[in-house]
């Protein structure tokens, strides 16, 4: 049933109680009564849960029995349930766009405290919708085909898991990683809580799968530099930075490394956080995927020192190039390699760009960077890792094994001065590290915690188990770390804290301090957010569309979140979320098309004067000038419906569907109309 022209408007109005969420602050009956007095309103009801089946059926029945041709529901935010009620409107036999939603929960009952005022506000907002709907036009949802390929940004455990999931299902995946190898933070860990299995043992098979999967194109040492288009059809430019080794020719034999003119590794090794050393040509780490060497132009003798302004390096030809000789016929080394930009088209994107650990220089009272025996937890992971710089021997920078170790929880977490959030994993990894220290040494271990937070499956059990292993658990925030005045030679430190259970100030002498640094958004998250048109929470994590109902979706259709880029989480949760993101991407891809909200704009062909004012305004170059008719035209496929051109057309000759001038003016009129006293 479509409304014909001139058919009188017949509106059905429904105000929802939302249990008590709305009804406790808004007198829904009064609202319904008031709306019943407004022009064109045929039915005005209130109901406990409009979004429930009976609520939706009520709308459908009324449409049929009362011959409604417009529907207005006052309930929660349209961002939540507009879709539901459009569906009900359609099921009742009307065009779904004859529906309008009024937000009286998020924008009213939940934020106001005066029932009378909140009720009057609900009336005003309802009136705006009642005045708006008569102007609504029937519209059609456009279906745009979706490109089945997917881009995954970041190849830590979340990105890896999402990539394998998608690729196993036959989707073509492009996996882009900033670092020369995939693996992310997990590759750096020694063992993982609560199972205490070796991180690399579980990760490396997955990494290998990624490296060899026919459906995965792996681009490491690469960054996304440009994103255009929209869901179903993103055009992405990826910059592949030069590693000075031709990927296709390198076999990973590492003979170049062995034969480098530097006989000994000399330069701090990033993977081991500078605790180990590497040569100018190196393999990121033993199990790196892809297993391809890389040359660091900052230190390689065959390059001039320092970057050119464009970021490239100049070849100096100063070195004997023994590496090239060693590589021989493989000819994989290319000192002239340049960055290359690759353009790909994908339908969906999964962001798995991870986190960074808190930089403890920001908490100077813990002495990180001042006292050599203060470590971050991540550094300790490398130190006790069998493939780490000390081959798994827990020794300090001075080569000695610590006798007493303090682990300081919540560094850069739950702290007004740094980050307010709980990083969720620190208590557990601190317990794990304590366990590992006890396993490797006879040291006394002190864990200083604020609260012991161990939520999640098997986590409390893990805590109970390792807590019995003989570590000291001290409840109290560490205030200070300073050298032991009585023992300046050995580098011994005093950890000062208040034990809040006994109300005593403790000063504990230790050899080693481990800072359990929290998780933070990556510094480049801000740039990525702009690039991908995402939102961030005030802390800087990527914002999910809805914390409960759309936790891996974003406000940009077709882009999903996995892992710690959305907030701190542990490995199981990251993997679960990666699976969820993959599933969301699937459901889009396998549908075959994306539905586009028909809020596009169009130029009134007769009325446009061809003044061209609108043409430069469109961010998507959807507007062009037709040289034949001398008028502007909007390419509907390109228009995304911002309405900027509509507001700017000086002769009012552009119309935006769903947001027509007349519709907005009626809303303005409606919210300001006098209310009954």
């Amino acid at each position: 049933m479509e409304t014909r022209k001139n058919e009188p408007v017949r509106i059905g109005f429904y105000v929802c109680h939302c249990g008590v969420n709305i009804a406790h602050m808004v007198d829904v009956e009064a609202v319904a009564k008031y709306v019943a007095t407004l022009p064109n309103v045929v039915v005005s009801r209130n109901y406990k849960y409009m979004c429930s089946d009976p609520g939706q059926e009520m709308i459908q029945t009324d449409i049929r029995e009362q011959r409604l041709n417009r529907v207005v529901v006052a309930a929660c935010s349209p961002l939540l349930h507009e879709h539901t009620f459009r569906g009900a409107t359609e099921a009742g036999g009307l065009n779904p766009f004859y529906f309008q939603m009024v937000n009286i929960r998020e924008h009213d009952s939940w934020v106001h405290t005066d029932r009378l005022e909140a009720t009057r506000k609900a009336m005003a907002l309802a009136r705006a919708a009642i005045q708006r709907v008569p102007h609504h036009k029937p519209l059609e949802v456009k279906k745009v085909p979706i490109n089945p390929d997917v881009l995954i940004v970041g190849a830590g455990i979340a990105g890896i898991h999402a990539a394998i999931t998608m690729a196993n299902a036959g989707k073509k995946v492009c996996l882009v990683e900033k670092e020369p190898s995939i693996g992310g933070h997990m590759a750096m860990f020694d063992k993982t809580f609560p199972t205490l299995d070796c991180a690399m043992c579980v990760l490396s098979p997955k990494m290998a799968t990624v490296g060899s999967h026919p459906n995965i194109t792996l681009w490491t040492y690469s960054e996304v530099v440009k994103v255009d288009g929209y869901v179903g059809n993103f055009k992405v430019t990826v910059r592949r930075k030069p590693r000075y080794i031709i990927e296709d020719l390198c076999t990973g034999c590492q003979e170049c490394v062995a034969n480098c003119v530097y006989k000994e590794p000399k330069f701090p090794d990033a993977f081991n956080l500078g605790l180990g050393k590497r040569k100018p040509v190196y393999m990121p780490f033993a199990q790196a995927i892809p297993s391809i060497a890389i040359i660091d132009p900052e230190v390689c003798l065959n390059f001039k020192r320092g970057k050119n302004p464009d970021g490239s390096y100049t070849v100096s030809d100063k070195c004997k190039k023994l590496c090239v000789v060693a590589c021989g016929d493989r000819k994989a080394i290319d000192f002239t390699q340049k960055a290359v930009d690759k353009e790909i088209t994908v339908g969906t994107i999964i962001m798995a760009t991870g986190f960074k650990t808190f930089d403890p220089h920001r908490t100077p009272y813990y002495g990180y960077g001042v006292y050599p025996n203060v470590y971050t937890a991540l550094e300790l992971e490398r130190v006790i890792n069998a493939s780490g710089p000390t081959e798994g021997h827990l020794v300090m920078r001075n080569g000695k094994e610590p006798k007493r170790v303090a682990i300081v929880h919540c560094v850069g977490s739950r702290d007004e001065n740094t980050n307010r959030w709980c990083s969720r994993v620190c208590c557990l990894y601190s317990l794990k590290l304590a366990h590992l220290i006890l396993e490797h040494t006879d040291a006394e271990v002190y864990n200083f915690y604020i609260d012991m937070r161990t939520p999640g499956k098997s986590m409390e059990e893990f805590y109970n188990r390792v807590a019995e292993e003989g570590m000291h658990l001290v409840r109290g925030r560490v205030a200070d770390v300073y050298p032991d005045p009585n023992d300046t030679a050995s580098g011994r430190l005093i950890v000062q804290a208040e034990d809040t259970l006994t109300n005593r100030i403790l000063k504990i002498p230790v050899d080693m301090v481990v800072l359990s640094v929290g998780l933070e958004p990556r510094p480049e998250a801000e740039d990525l957010r702009r690039l991908f048109n995402l939102s961030c929470s005030s802390e800087g994590w990527f914002l999910e569309r809805h914390p409960k109902l759309a936790p891996v979706s974003t406000f940009t259709d077709g882009i999903f979140l996995a892992g710690c880029c959305q907030g701190p989480k542990d490995i199981p949760d990251s993997v679960a979320q990666a699976g969820a993101a993959a599933a969301e991407a699937f459901s889009l891809i396998d549908k075959g098309y994306v539905e586009q909200e028909p809020n596009t704009a169009f130029v009134l062909a007769e009325e446009c004067s061809g003044c061209k004012s609108c043409i430069p305004l469109c961010p998507y170059t959807a507007i062009s000038f037709n040289e034949e008719t001398k008028k502007a035209v909007i390419n509907e496929a390109l228009c995304k419906g911002c309405g900027t051109c509509v507001a700017a057309c000086p002769s009012g000759s552009i119309v935006q569907n769903l947001f027509e001038d007349q519709e907005i003016f009626s809303e303005i009129d409606g919210v300001l109309a006098p209310l009954p006293q």
Partner: protein, 340 residues
């Protein structure tokens, strides 16, 4: 859009049984509109022969009483020019409305308030004081002001009072049609009169002009670039103007994009940008705001300072964007002015 589009029911002219009565009247206007009517009368004497002019103060001798004595609706059409800003004008407007079948707002002042409408930025007192006391050309030492009522030789002549607010005609009485322009061009006037006499009238409330902006018929249209981006605004006297090129392309504010066409771009052809006298299209409620929106959207700078620097090039936005339309704009008048 050709005029024929808004007068679709072309019926052949039937011979007139008797001459329809027509009235011309002027209110707050400069006289330019009257001039066009005179021009027109010479131009289409044939038409004038077909009508019986019952009131035309500028050319013929009729009195208020004569009109008052006429039966209601006995005049086919009144073409009234000028804004309404005195009690006399208002009274005449009401009287003529009552006597006329069609009330036609003739010219920008009746249509939109026109130049006199700019007085809506000031109080009545301010205007009187300036005009009778402070004005630079004023030699009125005693600061005498016109008195509404005076005694003279036993008579008490009364003067009409200036109203606080300048109004377009339709803010005072119901208007059937608008003939736009300052003044309306002969072509537009002819179209209106012909439509009236031939009974091919568009829907009530129409403006007798194509409902499309001026760029459509502008001779410089082709020279407007599709990527305009304003770095500065100049006024026409501040630069040497290219006589072929779109004014906006030269950084000069032109109201053409937000102004009805039908004038055949007379000002542009005369080397001046459009100042908006034909008023907005039917799709726009406030001509000044709409041109402002379009110009500002296309500024080059993105930062507050840069933006405001470019906008300094428009020192008087009200006078620029509401040259003719202030009285009929959304706010009508400076809202904090008192009335007395």
């Amino acid at each position: 859009m050709p005029l024929a589009l808004i007068t679709p029911n072309l019926k052949p002219l039937k011979p007139l049984m008797f001459k329809p009565k027509v009235a011309f009247y002027w209110c707050a206007s400069c006289g330019g509109c009257e001039e066009t009517v005179v021009d027109l009368a010479e131009d289409i004497l044939g038409v004038v022969e077909k009508v019986d002019i019952v009131l035309w103060p500028v050319a013929m001798d009729f009195k208020y009483k004569d009109v008052e004595a006429m039966p209601d609706k006995s005049i086919l059409a009144t073409l009234l020019n000028g804004a309404i800003r005195s009690t006399e004008q208002e009274e005449m407007a009401r009287l003529l409305r009552r006597k006329s079948q069609y009330m036609i707002a003739y010219g920008a002042c009746a249509h939109l308030g026109g130049i006199p409408g700019l007085a809506n930025q000031f109080t009545r007192e301010h205007i009187l004081k300036f005009n009778y006391e402070d004005g630079p050309a004023m030699a009125n030492e005693k600061k005498t002001r016109p008195q509404l009522v005076t005694e003279e030789n036993g008579r008490t002549p009364r003067l009409p009072a200036l109203t606080n607010v300048v109004r377009s005609l339709d803010q005072v009485v119901e208007v059937d049609y608008y003939v736009p322009g300052c003044p309306p061009t002969p072509k537009i006037t002819r179209a209106a009169v012909t439509a009236l006499l031939e009974n091919r009238l568009p829907p009530k409330g129409s403006v007798i002009a194509p409902d499309i902006a001026l760029c459509d018929e502008c001779p410089r249209k082709a020279t407007k670039p599709a990527n305009i981006s304003f770095r500065e605004f100049k006024r026409p006297h501040q630069a040497l103007m290219d006589p072929q090129k779109c004014f906006l392309a030269q950084g000069v504010v032109c109201m053409g994009p937000s102004t009805l066409s039908g004038c055949e771009a007379a000002c542009i052809s005369g080397g001046m940008p459009c100042t908006g006298c034909f008023g907005p299209t039917s799709r726009v409620r406030d001509q000044g705001l709409k041109i402002m929106s379009s110009l500002c959207s296309n500024l080059e700078p993105k930062d507050e300072q840069g933006i405001s620097a470019v906008l300094q090039g428009i020192p008087d936005p009200i006078g620029t964007f509401y040259r003719y339309g202030l009285a009929r704009s959304l706010l009508r008048r400076k809202v904090n002015l008192p009335t007395d």
